[in-house]
């Protein structure tokens, strides 16, 4: 449908009413079936043997001891995976194939999967996974985003440069107005270096799936993915099977926060079910969720604002390094979103942003609640208080003066619609009993008078 005028609810109908959450009676009674609650006859369990090193070459894999564990069923290695090398954003035509479902020659982060063990019980599979003997040659690793881009840094990627390529540049570029000229003309320059930490999603339910091979050649996949169709498409791609063979069931997730969109478990569990003919459960342990699953991006932001004596930001320059870890996953998307949001809710007439997606030997980072924006908001809003302090204005006034209005152009050149920052700030001030100056109270987000 087209975007346009919206419907208005009837008023006495369900929209606008705080009706009870539909699942809540199921949740409180323990009736909700989460993916780990799918327990099937003959079900085997998958546990991964993983890299203990942040960067290493794999010399040899020896399964002899693992195979001796009572209950061992089968091991999967890179050679078993039909399309082992992929990148998840490849599904929407973005990025280069770079990550392997199972590592073959090199591992690039602690916890990278190498061998998938299938056994009768979870304990047996865990035990066998610990008995997979892997001979490694350790390689130098890099963990800092700026060190990773420096000459001579260990190459994390296969193409040698530890940065994602955006339209021929190692960064995404935004240029609006003339930031250099405006910066020179500014009364003050405020510079800051901000660092967002990598953070674990920590859903109480860990990532997982159960796959049952069906007699018609299909696979029923119970998954706690946040995106059923995306996980289905990725599984079909890695297994090189038509999507008609995959029946994904899910829709109820024990906490996501962006952590369950990487499609890490479904392809391997489906392959395991395919090759063993048994239902296979692959659910992350808590330490896997902590150490292996993707995190929020670590982000370093260098932000420079040119400011007038009136507290108006006339120019902003930003260089951000978004740490994707060993593989880019959804981070190039975060770069785009970061680039689109670096002016925040303010009108900044001159802007120049360079945003890097940097590879390091850290566990891959990916989507998490607000990524691309959360760290930008942190930097921008600390920056606003510094501007207030520098210009002798109070923090409210600086924000009101810079707030965007409907019709203002943002650095990405889309005019602002639905602007309501001023109204939100007026309400917040009222809630905490802060008296705003009359001219601030009189403001609105309506288009500026020309």
């Amino acid at each position: 449908m087209n975007e346009g005028n919206v419907r208005v609810p009837a008023g006495d109908g369900p929209v606008g009413a705080s009706v009870e959450q539909r699942d809540s009676r199921w949740h409180v009674s323990g009736h909700t079936i989460y993916v780990d609650d799918v327990i099937l006859p003959g079900m085997a369990h998958m546990v991964l043997a993983r890299s203990p090193f942040p960067h290493a070459r794999i010399r040899r894999i020896d399964l002899t001891d693992a195979q001796k564990v009572p209950g061992f069923v089968r091991a999967l290695t890179a050679a078993d995976v039909p399309k082992n090398i992929y990148t998840i954003l490849g599904l929407i035509g973005f990025g280069l194939d770079e990550e392997r479902a199972l590592a073959d020659e090199r591992v690039r982060y602690v916890g990278e999967p190498i061998v998938a063990i299938i056994a009768d019980t979870r304990v047996a599979a865990s035990e066998a996974a610990k008995l997979v003997r892997i001979d490694y040659e350790e390689l130098p690793a890099v963990f800092d985003v700026e060190e990773a881009l420096a000459p001579g840094a260990p190459a994390v990627t296969e193409w040698g440069i530890n940065a994602f390529n955006f339209d021929g540049r190692p960064f995404r570029q935004v240029r609006f107005g003339d930031a250099d000229a405006a910066m020179k003309g500014a009364d003050h320059v405020v510079e800051g270096r901000y660092q967002m930490s990598p953070i674990e999603h920590a859903p109480v339910e860990t990532t997982g799936c159960v796959v049952r091979p069906e007699p018609d050649g299909r696979f029923t996949v119970w998954s706690n993915t946040q995106a059923l169709n995306m996980s289905l498409d990725l599984t079909a791609h890695i297994l090189q099977i038509p999507t008609r063979r995959l029946h994904f069931i899910g829709g109820t997730v024990g906490g996501g926060f962006g952590g369950k969109v990487d499609g890490m478990v479904e392809p391997l569990a489906t392959l395991g079910a395919w090759l063993t003919g048994r239902p296979v459960k692959y659910v992350y342990s808590r330490d896997e969720e902590m150490i292996v699953s993707s995190t929020r991006n670590g982000v370093r932001i260098y932000m420079t604002d040119g400011v007038t004596n009136d507290g108006l930001i006339v120019a902003r320059k930003v260089r951000s390094y978004i740490d994707c870890g060993a593989y880019s996953r959804h981070t190039p998307y975060a770069v785009q979103k970061h680039a689109a949001n670096l002016a925040g809710p303010y009108f900044i007439p001159n802007a120049a942003f360079d945003i890097y997606c940097v590879y390091t030997n850290r566990q891959p980072s990916s989507a998490m609640r607000g990524f691309g924006v959360t760290e930008a908001s942190f930097a921008m809003e600390v920056q606003m208080d510094r501007i207030a302090e520098l210009t002798g204005l109070d923090p409210w006034t600086v924000r009101f003066r810079n707030a965007y209005h409907d019709g203002d152009l943002r650095p990405h050149r889309k005019p602002v619609e639905d602007a309501t920052l001023i109204e939100a700030m007026q309400a917040a001030a009222r809630l905490v009993g802060h008296r705003l100056a009359p001219e601030l109270l009189a403001m609105s987000s309506k288009p500026r008078e020309v």
Binding site: R7, F176, S197, V253, T295, G298, N341, D418, A428
Partner: protein
Amino acid sequence: MAKVTGRGIAAVNYPTGMNLGGDPTIALIHASTSGVFNISISSVELGQGLKTVLAQIGAEALGVPLETVVLHNDDADTGPYCTGTFASRTTHRAGNAIIAAAEEARGVMLEEAAELLAVEPGELATDGQGNIVVRSTKQSITVAEVCSSAHFVHGRNISGRGIFFRAKSPVDPDTGAMDPDSTEAHACTVAEVEVETETGQVRVLRLTSAYEVGRALNPRLVHGQIVGGAWMGVSHTLYETTAPYYPLIDHAPESFSEYLMPGPAESPVIEAEVLGIPSSNGPYGQKGVGEMTANSPIPAIVNAIYDAIGVRFYELPVTPEKVLRALEERRQSATLEPATAGR
């Protein structure tokens, strides 16, 4: 041991929908013979109340009671395509898709009712209680009767299809010009903190926010996002990291006892007001609220710490160690201005 308090503010915007678009979500609706409306969709519930709010939207748009709407989101065989639950997109996308599907299904339902009541469909209204009413005469018929008749008398298929789709925006490689969002939500948060100068521990006492997130389709669910997100904001600001010695990977937490998050004792008082100004394109004027709720608390808390002790922090999380080191550096630095602590 001294405890000093401070107050800080932060204001944020947040885009609704996948950056650049290109992210379809489709809904199908069909009626049963007795007037139950089944919505099929593949959008995943994460606990935010998606199934609840989508059923509310469906019932509202169909004009039928909420309890007669059943929502199926569990099966990618029977549910049509959804890009996924992320990017504060799903209520917006799926909600709009459901409205479109509901309009089509409702149109067929009213055609059937019009034929039964010998009036024009335009003369009919639904009362939301399971009846279809002729506006002028107040003559009515139940939705159940209409659905039965559609199936067994006139062979009408009361169903509807809806999609929400924004074509993917290109990005100009040189200027970064793009269309990144459907709408923008806004929030302003005021944080009050207490810093214990002996240990460097920060306690967030209160987070007060005003949220402008379009029309709240289910106010308690919106409030739940705000409160849970505010707690996560506290957690991100003061506790959480997978790399306590960033950028090094040493001592990465492996369990809930090592990975620090605030418990119920550390939760601040959280108050929020939702303004409810409708957006121009969300279902019933909604905007996405799921992701943004952790964003404004973070800088608000950091700014409040500055207000309390006069030290500005640029790296998250602001651990007690960082606070204590900063305070000790100030104490040891004779050249500094008198501390602003305690003001």
